[in-house]
Assembly symmetry: C2
């Protein structure tokens, strides 16, 4: 298809598509002549991926480029793959911020250990958790270990829906896409479900 | 205490404190003379609140002002109070974004209904959930109703720790502070727990 058809199919304007091409977010089409290229379904899929990361995930263009690059050269093992996905999702602002706040507090390390050792204690996810616990404690809002345990159990059942056996069969690139897009799109759903549940519990506590 | 002591106690510089005073984020101290004012524990607490909202919650100054204003004039009922907290937490960028994406898709409304009616179907939380479900569907990533049900059950147990009976006894302003700060500080913990659990489940799926 021509670029005009790609625009019509994806709902993204031609100037934006050209910007994605220049920025390396979208792979070049097959060149027909000096001024004409054709695009296929892989371009439609890529444009949708970029839009989701930008619109829903609020990822910067630099971070989208990292995702695209990781998809083109996916890590070999599933574990590295989740680490890559989680690292990308943390975002550059978050990463820069984490650098400034210093390390993980000793209390947070103890709490991490109390959850049972994560498979890789220096994974992006474990570090993100340690920093989030540290930030809460620093703000005078330490999280009780019992609360953390209840939350961990709850998020375990969320994760069991996220990571399913059948995903072992897909290609590394598809698994990475699943991990990144799945989290980008569903983190807001999980947080919104928390808010709705707070309203429900609150009404019950008051009227019950 | 003088402003220099307020700075030393909170770790926030005097120019930043003066900025908070000008912006109405910090209430004025008691005036001793034209050039001298004294501050008390309420100022220390307010500065810590503002820092948490800015540093951890990444709220804009305008949004922090909304929180402060809501704390000074808290809604009368607990239900309105949670609505106010959730509305503030949604953030102006999110609110502006939600306006542009149009309404909640019919499929998302059906899924909302399948969760059991939330206490107030047009609450900020229910609307946030509907929009998050719509965004996932639009991106070609519809969430299965069974998955949503499992997640809702999990977030219900998170919310039961969030909203506890003893909170009914605190003042509306304290309850609002609890709802805003609690969510700002612990949303990142909950999401990080999801990532850690994904790594744990992933290892078990591969090796189990």
């Amino acid at each position: 298809m021509r670029i005009s058809e790609l625009a019509a199919t994806t709902g993204v304007t031609i100037p934006t598509l050209k910007y994605y091409l220049r920025e390396g977010l979208l792979h070049p089409g097959a060149t027909e002549s000096a001024t004409r290229a054709t695009y296929d379904d892989s371009h439609v899929e890529r444009v949708r991926l970029v839009r989701t990361l930008v619109d829903v995930g609020r990822l910067s263009i630099d971070r989208v480029r990292e995702v695209v690059s990781a998809l083109e050269h996916p890590p070999a093992t599933r574990h590295e793959l989740l680490g890559t996905a989680h690292d990308v999702l943390r975002g550059p602002e978050q990463a820069a911020h984490d650098e400034t706040v210093g390390g993980i507090a000793p209390e947070a390390l103890e709490q991490l250990a109390s959850l049972g050792s994560p498979p890789c204690s220096d994974s992006p996810a474990a570090r993100q958790l340690g920093l989030a616990l540290t930030a809460a404690t620093t703000a005078g809002w330490p999280i009780e270990t019992e609360t953390l345990r209840v939350w961990a159990t709850a998020m375990r059942s969320v994760a069991e829906r996220d990571v399913r056996a059948e995903l072992g069969a897909v290609s590394p690139a598809d698994a990475l896409r699943y991990a990144v897009i799945g989290n980008v799109l569903t983190d807001p759903v999980v947080i919104a479900l928390r808010r709705v549940a707070q309203e429900q519990v609150s009404v019950e506590v008051v009227t019950g």
